[in-house]
Amino acid sequence: MKHFFGVLCLMLCLGANAVAASNEEAAIVKNFSGTAFIVRQQMTFPVKKSERIFSGDLLRTGRDGTLGIIFKDNTILSLGPRSELLIEEFHFEPSRGKLSIVTRMFKGTAAYVSGVIARLSPKSVRFETPSATIGIRGTKFLVKVEGGGEEE
């Protein structure tokens, strides 16, 4: 029994790491304050400086948290407190024409400065919220998404 759980647990952890490793690295954490988390493969862990962020990661800030990241294509993104944003898709291989950056925000506030992908292929950039899709042409903008009440 003991072994069974041990092995199961090991498999879960290894499995999660393997999947994370197959996702493309999307960004790096430049700064954060207060409570800020990454949710990856159903594991939640506190953000560290210079932490690598992968497509599929969910970023979350607490009531006193902020987070600033820079994507591989130089897109810059920050979150204010009580925010939640998913890096849904990221590909940055200009030489193979493979470009996309799709972020999905569930709640909170964000600032966004578009990068190289928006310059090379504006169609490949999307910022989704529960009520709208934002299309971007080389620019800086702010987004607020109303949450559905307090949790934490």
């Binding site: 647990c9 204010g80 506030t109 800086k140 109303e146």
Partner: protein, 214 residues
């Protein structure tokens, strides 16, 4: 004794599992009148320009292209409205924290080399101090160094030359105590010119290494 060991082992296991299996991610399900309402505000780019964003849903789409202009989607189906220009103070009230957390824009330096050489031009030699200033200023942990050549000489030779140029710059950075593990080196030979030219043409501006400091 054995029992105690088993107990300790199972506690350890529980702890381990606790570390592996995190609470489920919850997104909003509680119905609140305004839940999901989206406001988008356009502002000046870091270099002073103002771009354009389009906000759309099943109710239609709206373009905004002035600094301080806001588009609002109440839900996924109602038409999107635009508002009068917002004052900077009002923007900061809502977005101040997010704006304060916005990292500085990455900066790219173009360092040029002498013909068929891994020796920097004099002008680029002096630019090295700005590269170091940017690394310190941003406390950068992510630097890319990409080597290039012009289109004189063989392609394969140029790939090797661009690699040597990139490695030269990495060596210079490391010699000034930049951590080598944060430097990502790439080289594109003559395939990615700054100035497009026919094959065989000498173009000093393409003999370069691009250093991006994030």
């Amino acid at each position: 004794m054995k029992r105690a060991a088993m107990k300790a082992a199972s506690w350890g296991m529980l702890f381990f599992m606790g570390a592996c299996v995190a609470p489920e991610v919850k997104t909003e399900t509680v119905p609140v009148p305004d839940a999901g309402r989206t406001q988008v505000v356009l502002v000046h780019d870091p270099d002073g320009k103002v771009g354009e964003v389009t906000v759309r849903n099943r109710g239609g789409s709206q373009k905004i292209n002035q600094a301080g202009q806001m588009a609002e989607a109440k839900d996924g189906t109602s038409a999107i409205s635009t508002q009068a220009l917002l004052a900077e103070g009002d923007i900061n009230k809502v977005f101040g924290d997010a704006l304060a957390a916005l990292p500085k824009k990455p900066v790219t330096f173009i360092l040029c080399f002498k013909n068929d050489s891994i020796e920097l031009t004099e002008a680029s030699q002096t630019m090295l101090s700005s590269v170091h200033a940017a690394i310190g200023d941003r406390q950068s942990q992510d630097i890319s160094v990409i080597g290039h050549t012009d289109r004189t000489g063989e392609k394969s030779y140029n790939v090797a030359l661009s690699r040597r140029r990139a490695l030269k710059i990495k060596k210079i950075l490391v010699s000034k105590s930049v951590n080598p593990s944060i430097i990502e080196v790439g080289y594109h030979g003559e395939a990615d010119p700054l100035i497009k030219t026919p094959d065989g043409v000498a173009e000093p501006r393409n003999r370069r290494v691009e250093v991006t400091v994030r």
